[in-house]
Symmetry: C2
Subunit: 542 residues, 2 copies
């Protein structure tokens, strides 16, 4: 095996060199692929040379999980519809150029379809860019839309925390020109409503504003060409201590130390209520910067709506360290964090004042929690469970790039990380004793006696189905009684309808309710006429 | 433009030749791509060189359409759950080798993901192969599962008939070893239930059995290596007359003419009721072939269940010309056809007896119905609206290929073509006058007077949302009255809640019901106390 590994490395190096020289390396590539194929064959493959698995970073959803997700979606759709949301769906892949250039450094995580002779396409990375494309393409200037669908990112997966390569997003966005901060307030209200209804536990919404951040950078003296890079560094303050972030800014990204320190005076500010806002509004120097002043005015108006009209201000933490990676945000930005789901190092020093204290958890020993991608799962919290912001220029940027001049279509929206919600609810459910149901059957039709009564069971099933009752029976002419009872118990079916020759002659069926303790002598269930059995069951099922 | 076209053709021919000579043609490919890019730029692209569109063969689902599809899914899920179906979901792409070799000639229609350094993957082509992989992977021997999800085929699209490259399938399959034909009967019952509930109009289910077809081929003397090809020819009898099919068998596929004629004596047999079955059961020669005899016994048993237990035999047409393309079917096969949805040439001669008559419609003039792919849409019916069959070997074939020996897991299932159902329902809806609703809002909160009353509207909205009532208001501090009334009307919102200064002082809001004709003097709606408004609206909404 060692010589095969060595040969592979040899070939990889040779191929790199060849590519640099722009020469065709197909023979070497073929040989390497053949060797790799042989290698995995030797390891664990079957005769046909493949393994029975799903692609890395993806999962099948088994029935209990699929049913739980369906309930999560139903809860969210109900909330979205309450607020006048309209449902849309878009194709799972877009033209490659639609997605190009929208995701900054994350663009390398996009899945491309192979060039098979037609248009070049890529799997969608989120639901926001498709929405902007949809608005621009259809000339729509105002819309409240929701979209629940899977997106694709070639990331390092951490399956236990719900970080996968294929995962659901649930987005609600409001597009259109309205009075300031009103739709922004409603989006935040919807997010709070959703996380409350999903029962994810205590949560906080970190909130900031791009214009305030831009103002702080301007005040501190950050060169324009470094804004994006410094923003990205600030955003790491939820995982790294200030000392590390400052080092990244100065050493890696070449920022002047004085400028970094000035930034440091602001990005430590965070808290619920209006204190941070008051501090910033009282900062004379900051208020000489126009964008900071506008941003602060927006926040003040937003807080009024959230407090006096919606009564939800207590969920908001105004947090100067929240920067978010994406370039297209132009106004408020926010992230919802669930208690106990944040990564451990988020509790480490994130302010300059505490910078002296050494970072905890940084040198945790590699343990059983390190997965096959080298990621230590114990240091990964679920992290943010939802996020979003205002993005005013994305739609008309699309329209212009496609050669059609349009007015701005301002947008604000939120994306709820369903997989992370699911990971939390699933962890909680495992702690409970009850096994989750995988199907919804209400009546199991069972036969006693050696004739099996298959045609009669099928006829009764048909009668129940026609009345909308969920019913099953075993696909056996002469099923064993114990096996039928076992199936009804395993599937946690509430009612058993017992057919037996004697009762059938009388035109009755016996209905027994499972899992109900009765007094002695009352265990035999109730005899119900076949003419009435539908009414009877409908009444009992409620 | 002509010289660019010519140069492109030149380059294409040259590239073909080069490929044959196995020489690297990258320079020519680059030049051709650059020319093509210039060509489309010249035509219609914007400055960034791209068009705002979705990929060929895909569509966005706009709100009215998305809502209608959601209703179709809800109807189907309700039926599947009634029969004890368990929901699963699988990744949108599978390992390339999982899909390889499963789809015969259609394998060229599979979308591949680009090789980006990891596992090679392809977009799923149907939901059956993923299900078989799921069963084999998890060692499951019995399961009733449903799955509603999109699949991907690089076909020639005919959008108006619902033939797209990305489209939903709704599958229900029963896996497991049971007494013969019982699950088969229930699957057909479910299919009939579903098409009835979806209200697609009159439909017929064409039914056949692979063992009977195999028996006919054996009796006629079809060589084993030609079975697949001859099967595929027989399957075209729904679109081509017998003369053409026979020609394909003999001329193209090299079958002896006597053998083709013998086949021709059977494949014209079709009809409802038990006549065809009786004819075949009385055919002494056919019954000397073991597989034909087994197949006929299966059909006889199936018909008994369908007629006496489920009462649905009248929907079935036993049709010897149904062959289906897929290799993995081992028992019954079926296809549901909606009246008026079959392609026009299906009415042409499909039996040897009528073979003398010339084929109709074969030389229809190219007309306005020819789309940009050269497909004459008027000759394309919606075709089959659902299809399926029994496939007993697929699961253990997977298990064995992956090196794990397993017992057979027999399966039978049906796949409902939701897009085709949608195309039919949508065509019907367009004939109706009513514009479909795109949102579900029940109450529109409107303000009169110059103050705008935005905080009060937001407070009332919150009150209604907390009670689960779907409510909206305009995101404007001082909205114009006419525009608010217009929005309530456009969105077909049933109730308008009117806030005005005088009423607010009294602590009341006026509720008006839209679209209801009242007697003169009764147009002003009802005054409701703000303390009671939730109860009042809940009662009115029912």
């Amino acid at each position: 095996m060692a010589s095969v590994d060595e040969r592979i490395k040899e070939l990889q190096d040779k191929i790199k060199a060849l590519k640099v020289a722009k020469q065709d390396a197909s023979k070497e590539v073929e040989e390497m692929k053949a060797l790799k194929a042989q290698q995995s064959k030797d390891k664990k493959d079957g005769p046909a040379g493949f393994q029975l698995k799903v692609p890395k970073g993806t999962i099948d959803q088994k029935p209990a999980a699929a049913l739980l997700r369906k309930k999560i979606f139903a809860t969210l759709e109900g909330i979205f519809a309450k607020h006048g949301g309209e449902l849309i769906d878009t194709p799972v892949f877009e033209l490659k150029e639609i997605l190009a250039g929208k995701y900054g450094e994350d663009s390398k995580l996009i899945y491309d379809l192979q060039d098979q002779g037609g248009e070049l396409c890529s799997l969608r990375y989120d639901l926001t860019v498709p929405f902007a494309r949809y608005l621009a393409m259809n000339g729509i200037t105002s819309m409240k839309r929701y979209h629940i669908a899977k997106v694709y990112r070639r990331d390092q997966p951490v399956m236990s925390k719900g970080r996968m390569r294929e995962f659901y997003q649930c987005d609600f966005d409001i597009a259109g020109t309205y009075d300031p901060m009103v739709p922004d307030a409603e989006i935040l209200y919807i997010l709070i409503e959703a996380l409350t209804a999903l029962d994810v536990g205590e949560f906080t919404i970190k909130l900031n504003h791009r214009k305030i951040l831009d103002g702080i950078f301007e005040l501190a003296g950050v060169p324009a060409d470094k804004t994006r890079a410094i923003s990205s560094a600030v955003d790491k303050l939820d995982k790294l201590p200030w000392a590390d972030v400052k080092k990244e800014m100065t050493v890696e990204k070449g920022l002047d130390e004085k400028v970094a320190d000035r930034i440091g005076q602001y990005v430590g500010l965070k808290g619920k209520g209006r204190e941070v806002l008051a501090t910033l509004q009282g900062d004379k120097e900051l208020n000489t910067i126009a964008s900071a002043k506008e941003g602060l005015a927006d926040i003040a108006l937003l807080f009024d709506y959230l407090e006096h009209s919606f009564g939800v201000l207590d969920k908001i933490s105004f947090d100067m360290s929240l920067a978010r990676g994406l370039d297209y945000y132009t106004g408020i930005i926010y992230e919802a964090i669930v208690e106990g789901s944040a990564p451990p190092s988020a509790t480490a020093a994130a302010t300059p004042a505490a910078a002296a204290a050494p970072a905890k958890g940084k040198k945790a020993a590699k343990s059983a929690t390190v997965n096959e991608d080298g990621v230590d799962e114990s240091t990964v919290g679920v992290g943010s469970i939802a996020a979003g912001g205002r993005y005013d220029n994305l739609v008309n940027m699309f329209a212009e790039a496609a050669g059609s001049k349009r007015d701005k279509v301002p947008c604000v929206g939120v994306s709820i990380g369903v997989e992370r919600v699911y990971a939390i609810l699933e962890q909680r459910r495992r702690a409970e004793a009850a096994k989750p149901r995988e199907k919804e059957t209400d009546v199991f039709i069972l036969s006693l006696g050696k004739e099996g009564l298959l045609p009669e069971r099928m006829k009764l099933a048909r009668k129940l189905w026609e009345a909308g009752i969920k019913a099953e029976y075993q696909y056996k002419a002469k099923p064993k009684a114990e096996r039928q009872w076992a199936q009804a118990a395993d599937d946690q079916v509430r009612f058993v309808a017992i057919l037996a020759p004697a009762e059938l002659e009388k035109g009755v069926v016996r209905i027994k309710e499972q899992g109900v303790v009765r007094e002695a002598g009352q265990d035999n269930g109730e005899e119900v006429s076949l003419d009435n059995v539908v009414e009877y069951l409908k009444a009992r099922l409620g």
